[in-house]
Amino acid sequence: MMRWPSSLQAQLALRLTAVLAIAAIVGVVSLFHESNQTADALRREELLSRADELAGLIDRAADGTVRVRLSQRLAQVFNNPGATDLFVIRAEGGEVLSTSRPDLAPATRGWPPAGAEPRYSRIKGFGTASQEYCALALRSASPAGPVSIIVARAIDGDTLAHTILKDFARDVTWAILLFAFAILAVAIWSIRRGLDPLRVVSAQAATIGPESTAVRLGGKGLPSELVPLVTGFNQVLDRLERGLMLQREFTANAAHQLRTPLAILTVHLDQLPDSPSIQLLRGDAARMNRLVEQLLRVARLDAIPPSQDVVELNALVADIARGLAPWAIGQKRMIGLDGPEQPVWVLGRADALGDALRNLIENAIAYSPPQSEITVTVLAEGAVRVADRGPGIPEQDRQRIFERFWRGRTALGQGAGLGLAIVAQVVAAHGGSIEVGETPGGGATFTLRLKSVEHDGVAGPRNWIAATY
């Protein structure tokens, strides 16, 4: 079954085509009907004058027989072998007085006698079966008394006038069809043009994203039918933009409001003389700092979805590893970085990806034994592998570790259970994947895969270099 097209343009075009086709058919049919009527009227006139002429030629011979003395012109018309014209003259009683084709005379026997008015008709099955005739019966007085004169002509053997009429009808039919096509073409073109504003608005709508909330639909020449839809949509956009802005502001304000008191707390604790309880408090403050940090990262990720920038992984990973190295040394762990010589470009946002990588490496440092090395490897296909020598992750926990606030049985007490959830969130927002497996010889290996892209930039993002040097 053919499906009704969903495109408005196709629907309008189809409907219009149907209407035009019907109009063209009706026009052509009525034109033919009209031209047939005209042809019939012409034939009737012709036959009538011929019958009148014949009536004048009827004559009763001395022996009492009725005859028709055809003029030379009429004899040519009626008496040649392929004649398409014929006549029959019958007496009142139906007896054939004279005929041009004696073989056809019996066929006219059943015809009703002509009335006072000349009777015009079309006859089929007269003579050869396929031939159609038009005929005229006329009652006339003659020297032989009242007679019925029947004059007939094969429709094929039409005269010049009829041929001209037929040609005219055919030409007009073509004209109608051409006209219909022309109208259709113009109509389809106008429909296309008429729908242009819709296409423009759709293209505008397609550019709207969390990154570009300032876009509003509209523009010059918007048809009035579209205005309510566009206005409504723009109002929705206003509300969404306001909501997003509030959330972003909240994240920024919360960061500021939370961090300043924490900074005071941290610095103050640092200044107090060492004692077991102060050391515990410092640990608590550090945990609090970390939790706030992670919560803010989550909030920021929720508020600002990743853009599709191009990031060089070698530079990004090196920067994150450099930043974490002093802390790792303090924890008596080492970080080793391997990567391909050529740059590895991926799609994403440097700060979000940086958060994810930092969390992965911090996690690895927290779970690996002292003096061991956390091996970070950048893979040319746009992935980063972080391998530690810790206890590893049991098979049954490998899915759950990425849930928010989930903490494994082996948790060492310093995490809030947000680190890996952030990694998973960043990865999901970038259309990448994260998997965890076993490090050969023991430990956990996380592999973070991103969408790699071809890019011909030479250096890594300037800001990452600048931030460290």
Binding site: R259, T260, V267, I335
Partner: protein, 225 residues
């Protein structure tokens, strides 16, 4: 060494003052961007610690104005904002370093000192790491007062690691510093220099250590006393 602290949070100002005083700095504190501008104009400070969130304006504006005015004092920016864009904006405006709240007191002191360890600045003449002293003008190294003779390349590596005490220096950066000293650049020149340096420091009982982070770089740390 005189440090200007621009921070509006009174409690934090007190703590910064005591922390920095304890570390040997003379501390002046202002709480508004107006006062900060005036204080900077005097030009007597060796280093500025600048909070970005001030009640009467954005710290970034002070930073940009100071740099426009030609101030070359190292400025350490302190902020509660840590999004990369903010970080980059700060560095673009002329910040020398960037510390996100909350931070450890020791980190602040270390970063401030690191800024002053730049060539030509207050701590740039004599670098110190544990019991190791490096005189950048006299080009000699003393460990607990004993002079240690070092080849030029090793001295340069040590100087650079000491200037960046506690932070990673990529191998490429060290190679760049040595370029032109080594007549023929050798691919493993830096690891060889670091190896020799590490052995000599350890033989002399230095209380600082050079760590190698494979693929990342080198960093010098002081041993806890």
């Amino acid at each position: 060494m005189r440090v200007l602290v621009v921070e509006d949070e009174a409690r934090l100002v007190d703590l910064l003052r005591s922390t920095l005083t304890h570390a040997g700095f003379v501390v002046d504190a202002v709480t508004s961007s107006e006062d900060a501008g005036a204080a900077l104009a005097i030009g007597i400070y060796d280093v500025v610690i600048l909070d970005l969130g001030l009640p009467d304006g954005d710290g970034l504006d002070i930073l940009a104005a100071a740099r426009r005015a030609g101030t070359r004092i190292p400025i350490l920016v302190l902020t509660a904002r840590d999004a990369v864009e903010d970080r980059v904006r700060g560095l673009d405006a002329g910040a020398d370093d960037y510390l996100v709240k909350p931070f450890a007191a020791s980190e602040l002191v270390a970063r401030t000192k690191a800024l002053l360890r730049r060539p030509g600045l207050a701590l740039g003449m004599t670098l110190e790491a544990g019991n190791v002293l490096l005189d950048t003008v006299g080009r000699d190294v003393r460990i607990s007062g004993e002079t240690l003779a070092l080849p030029r390349q090793e001295l340069l590596v040590l100087e650079h690691l000491m200037r960046r005490l506690g932070r990673v220096v990529p191998k490429a950066v060290l190679e760049e510093k040595l370029y032109g000293i080594d007549d023929e650049p050798v691919s493993n020149a830096i690891p060889v220099h670091v190896h020799h340096l590490r052995r000599k420091l350890s033989e002399c009982g230095a209380t600082c250590t050079i760590h190698t982070m494979r693929g990342i770089g080198y960093l010098l740390t002081e041993e806890p006393s």
